[in-house]
Amino acid sequence: MKDTSRTILNALDRRAFLKAASLPCLAACGGAFAGAPLAAPLFATPPATESDSQFIREAKFYEKLPYKKTKCKLCPRECVIDDQERGYCGVRENRGGTYYTLVHSRVVTAHIDPIEKKPFFHFMPGAVAFSLATAGCNVNCKMCQNWDISQVRPEQVRSTYAPPDKITALAQQNSCPVIAYTYSEPVIFLEYVLDCAAAARPAGVRSAVVSGGYIQADPLKKLCAQVDAIKIDLKAYSEKYYKEVVNGELKPVLDAIVTIRKAGVWNEIVYLVVPTLNDGDAEFQGLARWVKSELGPDVPLHFSRFHPEYLLKNLPPTPIETLERAKAIADAEGLHYVYIGNVPGHPAESTYCPHCRKKVVDRTGYTINGVYLHHGKCQFCHTVIPGVWT
């Protein structure tokens, strides 16, 4: 088996990462593409092939069925897979009645990003996250910004072998206090996330997950036990949208958010506002009421601006007035931390104390201008501002 570890270490040095992270895209977009990798993958190794056994592990969450079929128990889709076939995600394959993940340690892209890019606004502000992804996704959002890695099979894109201990080492070498599993969908590379997080925690490196939250309860609970923060992309507050635009379901995602909250893992929610499809007042209000009643008023809710991508190029970017309307509705429902995302320089990028209304985290785009907290409390009125601040 080819040992590519040296190649990875050489390719992923700090200089290369900083170069990538400072590409013009960052300044030009100013966060307009908050979910997208900033640059081409840094790995320089040849494409991996499907036969590369180093990436293949038996899946953790599935059932064996008669006639060599398997039923995946990772996400609510519960794909029933014939021999030699793959699930909807494209990265799990039935081989002779045993189900395998094909993407363990199979990193398709890795970058150093500000944690605000995920976005996390109440989790280690100003930190940089060693951010990685494998190929694949268990939904197929028509507006996906990263479809060229999320909607492909692992053998169709360039990837590199990066086992968990290497990821921890790379994060430390690059002064990243957190590893972010992001860009595509960490649910579909869950075994790898769990192993990376388990390797990172003893080294003092935290783990943050950026997910659509389309996952079954059992694997989610195991995930919650290993990671420090989970951001959920709640695509809409309607089953119709989930069926027609996301190719998924709303209810399991709502259930997952409640599970995360109960598990005590830091959680933020992003709602990408797509013109004409999920931008109605009633939907904003329903969402805000659900968040307040099921999660409480302190969960940060980000209304993010949509940009035309993938299969929704026919729609315009979200008008800023629409985002402000969404925020106003959520504020009126009593949520404490409602943000507007992908609009660099907007006042609603900053965090305000819900009691005295003073700015406690001052942001512009991904830049932290100032943090006015003392031991997690507003330094002006001493109100506790929930989050993981250090």
Binding site: T49, E50, S51, Y67, K68, K69, V80, D82, D83, Q84, E85, R86, G87, Y88, C89, G90, N140, Q151, V152, R153, E155, Q156, N247, Y310, L311
Partner: protein, 319 residues
């Protein structure tokens, strides 16, 4: 039934086959079902001479020609690069038979085709189905989509958006589609329409709702609908349940080929053959199993117009 407006087609062995007259078939799609109960050789495998003859008869009946060469000339032109899209997912048990492909390549050579490409999803799939990989050179090549990869730009139709394989878009001028007559555990059946999932990068995304409308949407991508000229469904062995994987307990020797220029009509006829077999053995219908292939009628609708599934407009010719 063919009714009273019958013409006769003389096959190479002197037999005559009744065909509808030209006037009767205007606006209709012909599906030829050619079978030979003696096609199997004494041991394992097929009698290559009888298989070639079966293919010839099917082509002649499809195109109403007195010779197979004449028929093939209506499919391809000399100088074209012809792709032979096989279906290898089931491995050697229920994939397109190399013996059939060999018979086709022989006839293609005889009508001036010098460049042919046997292709499917991956090299490994082809090898499991007994095809020998030949990525380079001229003449007859054989390789999977993993060799040339996929286009960078998306093809989009209806609910489907996919990258097309370069073998189809950049190499082939024309394609002969060679699916297998078999059941599909999610989509009901996998015949001419669904076999073209092998031309896209993300077939795993399109099995929801028994493949409807995705199978029709994918086939409507211009490179597919414009380049696929003929469908020859390999029914030498057929499978009525448990597909697409090879399940020998649910296979039966159909000993035949289904040939048509209309993928929708072929799928409709093939689906009914599988349903009939299921009924014979006491298996529930595909509708009862909630996997009726509704994508076939979707493919025929006004949005897709890929062919017909109206039994009144399908000429089913059995030889």
């Amino acid at each position: 039934m063919l009714g009273s407006t019958l013409a006769a087609l003389k096959l190479g062995d002197g037999r005559a086959v009744a065909l509808p007259s030209a006037s009767a078939e205007a606006g209709r799609s012909r599906v030829v079902i050619a079978r030979d109960a003696k096609i199997r050789s004494a041991g394992v495998g097929f009698d290559s001479a009888r298989l070639a003859q079966l293919l010839d008869h099917a082509l002649q009946a499809t195109f109403e020609c007195d010779s197979p060469i004449e028929a093939w000339k209506k499919v391809v032109r000399p100088g074209e690069v012809v792709g032979l899209k096989v279906n290898c997912l089931g491995g050697r048990g229920n994939a397109t038979h190399p013996e059939l492909v060999e018979a086709i390549t022989e006839r293609l050579r005889q009508v001036g085709i010098t460049e042919m490409v046997i292709w499917d999803r991956q090299n490994s799939d082809l090898e499991h189905a007994r095809f020998k990989i030949a990525e380079r050179g001229s003449g007859l090549r054989c390789f999977g989509n993993d060799v040339l990869g996929f286009e960078d730009a998306l093809a989009i139709f209806g609910k489907a958006g996919s990258l097309m394989c370069r073998t189809l878009t950049q190499v082939c001028d024309a394609v002969i589609n060679l699916p297998v007559l078999k059941d599909h555990g999610i989509a009901g059946v996998t015949l001419a329409l669904k076999s073209m999932f092998g031309a896209i990068h993300n077939p795993n995304k399109y099995h929801s709702d028994a493949g409807n409308p995705y199978v029709a949407d994918v086939y409507a991508f211009p490179p597919i609908r414009q380049k696929v000229r003929l469908h020859i469904c390999d029914g030498l062995n057929a499978q009525y349940d448990g597909g697409p994987s090879f399940m020998p307990q649910w296979m039966w020797p159909f000993n035949g080929l289904l040939v048509s220029r209309d993928p929708v009509a072929l799928d409709y006829v093939g689906w009914k053959i599988i349903e009939k077999k299921r009924l014979e053995v006491g298996a529930p219908s595909l509708r009862e199993q909630k996997r009726e292939p509704a994508y076939i009628s979707t493919a025929a609708d006004a949005e897709h117009r890929l062919g017909t599934c109206d039994p009144q407009r399908i000429e089913r010719v059995e030889i």
